[in-house]
């Protein structure tokens, strides 16, 4: 048996071991997070690094922001808008000059402030309008990734207001000088200013390329080839504008950004920190929501319910196949550009207007590979894939979570109106079966979160809200206000037709 002295010394050694091991236990922790957890958090640092450049739109120097500022002017200008086709929040049928980009991107975080799950330009869109900030980090544009970047998207996005020919005439009428300054190599054709009654006029008032090769020729196809090329060139240049401008719209300095970047641990409340722990732990949100804008840029079927009808109408909306639906349009473009690299109506990265067609083509070929890997059923005539496997059917791009508390409604269909309900939907493993196309991704499984944990997650998501472009300008009046309406004054009302 031990005597007291020996027992005492062993007891002291034991205490030392206990103290030392306790000190070691916390080594490497950052604000209570283990090194592995902190590494995961660091990968989520909002807007880390410079915005990636667009490889398809690097021809023009960004130093003077000419393109971005012209894009900003056009973004706000409603004079371009043709007649509204469907009565709704945009106005009544026949109303003109009621719609611009800003109509559906009207809030501080550039979403649609008007109620309803989906937006209306001159007619209804079939999907929820996403925000328009921090877009430079996206590989593909729109929730389906229909476009390979902001340029391709920008060549068509004005279609919510007017046809390509009407757009061209509008720019000539109102922004001729600005446009020619921005694109000195491809100035506007002076014939765009001629009335259709002028014998030299080659441009009708409105119109665009026919919707399919088999459709009869329309006003666009009836124009001389050089006029068609001019319209296409204008569309390509519009794509550049509507790439450069959104790239200016950033929302830095969110509490979470300061928390990670500056290690300012006061930026998150204790509840938000618990939510962060869930985000990278039990909820595993960072399986997909990671990176500088909290998206993996991949497409997943998260079981988000589709919208069945256009609001307040009986007009049914076709079930949205998401990425699967976009694949065919992308592959059609690929086939076109492979047949003719100078195809005039191809505005993606592989097309003739791109600054890096090689890279653009490779990205489309990657899509083709994806198509071959995941297609289950093909149309025997067209060879188009009519059914993809669960990886693509009903899959939508992981949306950025930056400013997510300010960007309701949610999902491609806008059917979920609160952030808490979004979390609850994920907690349930997706929406009700049958309410969406395809099979929910294996990444979406019931999370078993408690009500308290859901509230903690929602609180954390609130810390992802950065300073809006308008607030940035307000805080620094010497800086350019990218949220300001810089459109030229409205044009005089159009002359009513003679009786």
């Amino acid at each position: 048996m031990l005597n007291e002295k020996r027992f005492g010394s062993r007891f002291q050694v034991g205490l030392l071991v206990v103290a030392a091991s306790s000190a070691l236990a916390a080594c490497g922790e950052v604000d209570g997070f283990t090194p592995d957890q902190w590494n995961q958090i660091k990968k989520m640092e909002p807007l880390a690094g410079d915005p990636p450049p667009n490889p398809f739109n690097n021809r023009y120097d960004d130093a003077n922001d000419t393109l971005a500022k012209l894009g900003q002017m056009l973004f706000f200008d409603k004079d371009v808008a043709e007649a509204i086709k469907v009565a709704g929040p945009s106005g009544n049928i026949g109303d003109i000059r009621k719609v611009a980009c800003v109509t559906c991107h009207s809030t501080a975080y550039f979403i649609d402030a008007r109620p309803g799950p989906i937006s209306e330009g001159i007619s209804y869109l079939t999907t929820n309008t996403g925000d328009m900030v921090n877009l430079a980090w996206y590989d593909w544009t729109l929730s389906t990734g229909r476009f390979d970047g902001l340029v391709e998207h920008g060549t068509t996005v004005w279609g919510t207001s007017a046809t390509p020919i009407a757009q061209a005439r509008f720019i000539y009428t109102k922004y001729l000088a600005e446009y020619n300054a921005a694109f000195p190599d491809t100035p506007l054709d002076s014939r765009l200013g001629l009335p259709t009654t002028d014998p030299s006029s080659v441009y009708p008032l409105t119109g665009g390329p026919k919707s399919s090769a088999s459709a009869p020729d329309g006003p666009f196809e009836m124009m001389p080839q050089d006029a068609q090329d001019n319209i296409s060139q204008i569309r390509a240049n519009l794509g550049r504008l509507f790439d450069k401008y959104p790239r200016k719209l950033l929302t830095p300095e969110s509490p979470f950004q300061k928390y990670v970047r500056d290690r300012d641990f006061s930026q998150l409340s204790p509840t938000a920190k618990l939510g962060l722990g869930l985000f990278i732990g039990k909820a595993a949100c960072n399986e997909c929501h990671t990176g500088p804008t909290l998206t993996d840029n991949q497409f997943h079927n998260v079981g988000a319910p589709d919208l069945d009808f256009i609001p307040n109408t009986t007009t049914a909306i076709t079930p949205n196949r998401g990425r699967a639906g976009a694949m065919q349009a992308i592959l059609t473009n690929l086939a076109t550009v492979q047949a003719n690299p100078d195809a005039p109506l191809i505005f993606n990265g592989a097309g003739k207007y791109s600054d890096n067609p090689t890279l653009g083509l490779q990205r489309l070929l990657d899509v083709q590979t994806e198509d071959q890997q995941h297609c289950v059923t093909r149309d025997p005539k067209s060879n188009a894939c009519t059914l993809y496997d669960e990886t693509l059917e009903g899959a939508f791009r992981t949306m950025s979570l930056l400013n997510v508390a300010q960007t309701a409604p949610y999902f491609h269909s806008g059917t979920v109106t609160s952030l808490e309900d979004v979390v609850r939907q994920y907690n349930a493993g997706g929406g009700p079966p049958g309410s969406y196309v395809g099979t929910v991704s294996p990444k979406i499984r019931p999370l078993l979160l408690t009500d308290t944990e859901i509230a903690e997650l929602v609180e954390f998501l609130g810390t992802l809200t950065g300073v809006s472009p308008a607030d940035q300008a307000a805080a620094d009046p010497s800086s350019w206000n990218w949220a300001a309406n810089t459109a030229k004054p409205p044009l005089p009302p159009p002359t009513p037709p003679s009786p």
Binding site: M1, L2, R10, G14, V17, V18, S21, S22, L24, A25, A26, C27, G28, T34, P35, D36, Q40, K43, G277, L278, I280, G281, K282, A283, A284, N286, E287, C288, T290, D296, P442, K443, I444, R445, P446, L447, L448
Partner: protein, 481 residues
């Protein structure tokens, strides 16, 4: 196995074969030691043993023939007294006895919040597994704090609610690891009832106690032969796979924590078991028919009550070589092979088969032992995660351990273990383990009833799994009775 510095297993017949003089000394000492014998703890898996005795030598032989008659008379008297004493003892000793222990400890996780895994978020490390909902790297049970294989923290994994019995959140602390009670009742001359019940005090919640009780042994041992070398067990009993199960309780374990593969080999099984020693104890054969595998209850596979009709077949064959005087008397080298095969645990049908195959080796000396075990196995699992049937690919894994009782009061343990496994649950979860665990520990024997132990476990990931700090320090004070 070494318990308190003494080998726990010795063939009792050896003592009876050492000649007349040795037997005489044995008889005399037995007479004196009979009260102590009566109180000796039983070994769970073995028959009660004879006490350790020094060997008789030729030097002790009586030298003179003229003293022979006197000696004969004294021996006769001793025999008579011994017989009388044995009769008295048998009358006074109850057929019911109790053993057990209290195991109290302090542990300190070092790194990763006491959690033995990390999640491969976004399948950055192993993109080939992106079809699974969640991919986990490391080992759920890499941070044990006690002989129960309870870990410092199971972590906060998505899509599952686990009973995290320690749930330390990475903090060090004291814990009553286990209170064990082992009743034993001699039903007849050749039948023994045994049970082992654990009381585990843990944190409650919402006004409910968190304490729980676990019955890990409830068996009948029947010895059908007179030599006592064959036993038939019925009930909830110890497994027969490998060797680690023999020291699964903390009063039997030289160190504190189990190896990385104990989860496959040390779980109690329900069924029927037969074990026999043949060829003068050189050959040990054991076989069993059980509900499920020998996996431990808190791991993914165990099922106490079968949900399928098929039963698991278990077997082990070992050669026990009395190495004898290589180092010291009674040294023993045992080499065994084990196997299990049957319907996978938790499955409701017999379609998928679970199997394990193993090789074990142990060299046992009074103060020193070397043990090693190798295991491989598999189970297909079920594609539908909702069925809760896990799949397993257990690649060759094992451990090697040295236990050395350097002094009667002090000993140390070194162990290196490896686990290379993939565990899946449908397409929901995949656990990828490529882990090497190094264990160093020491023990202090205050007396046969009080043993203090400390251990440090260092976990090292390999095979492409990012290394992360998930070590653990733990200690144990075992108070046995």
């Amino acid at each position: 196995m070494i318990a308190n510095g003494k080998p726990a297993r010795r063939p009792p017949t050896r003592y009876l074969e050492r000649g007349k003089r040795a037997w005489q000394v044995l008889a005399a000492v037995s007479l004196l030691a009979s009260p102590a014998l009566a109180a000796r703890a039983f070994a769970q898996d073995e028959k009660p043993e004879a006490p350790s005795l020094p060997e008789a030598t030729d030097d002790q032989a009586p030298p003179a023939t003229d003293q022979f008659a006197t000696m004969e008379q004294e021996i006769a008297e001793l025999k008579e007294r011994m017989a009388q004493s044995e009769q008295e003892r048998l009358k006074s000793v109850s057929a019911l006895s109790f053993n057990g222990y209290v195991d109290f400890g302090y542990f300190a996780p070092i790194g990763n919040g006491g959690v033995g895994w990390i999640r491969d978020a976004g399948n950055v490390v192993f993109p080939q597994y992106k079809s699974y909902s969640w991919t986990f790297l490391g080992d759920l049970l890499a941070t044990p704090v006690n002989s129960r294989d309870e870990v410092a923290s199971l972590g906060n994994a998505p899509g599952i609610t686990r009973f995290d019995s320690i749930n330390s959140s990475g903090a060090g602390g004291f814990v009553v690891n286990e209170i064990n009670l082992r009743p034993r009742y001699q039903l007849s001359d050749n039948a023994i009832m045994r049970a082992s019940v654990n009381f585990i005090p843990r944190t409650g919640s919402d006004f409910a106690l968190g304490d729980f009780i676990e019955a890990d042994l409830a068996e009948l041992e029947y010895l059908p032969t007179k030599d006592g070398k064959t036993s038939i067990f019925i009930g909830k009993m110890m497994p027969i796979f490998g060797i680690e199960y023999k020291e699964r309780k903390s009063d039997q374990r030289f160190g504190i924590t189990p190896s990385l593969i104990d989860r496959y080999t040390t779980g109690s099984q329900l069924g029927v078991k037969v074990r026999s020693k043949l060829l003068d104890d050189w050959l040990i054969l054991a076989g069993a028919v059980t509900n499920g595998s020998s996996t431990t209850e808190q791991f993914h596979f165990y099922s106490e009550i079968d949900q399928n009709w098929g039963k698991t077949l278990n077997g082990r064959a070992a050669i026990s070589i009395p190495v004898g005087h290589l180092f010291r008397n009674d040294d023993k080298l045992e080499i065994g092979v084990s196997g299990e095969w049957g319907p996978q645990d938790r499955a409701t049908d017999n379609a998928g088969k679970m199997w394990f195959a193993g090789l074990d080796l142990q060299y046992l000396n009074a103060n020193f032992s070397f043990k090693a075990q190798l295991i491989k196995g598999g189970s297909p699992g079920e594609p539908d995660a909702a069925q809760g049937v896990y799949g397993l690919q257990l690649h060759p894994s094992g451990y090697a351990e040295v236990d050395w009782q350097v002094l009667p009061q002090f000993g140390f343990i070194l162990r290196s273990a490896l686990r290379d496994a993939i565990v899946t649950l449908g397409t929901d979860r995949i656990y990828i383990t490529k882990e090497i665990q190094y264990t160093v520990g020491a023990r202090v024997v205050f007396n046969p009833h009080i043993v203090a132990k400390v251990e440090y476990l260092h976990n090292q990931e390999y095979g492409g799994i990012p290394s992360f700090l998930d070590d653990i320090f733990t200690s144990s004070l075992v108070l046995a009775f």
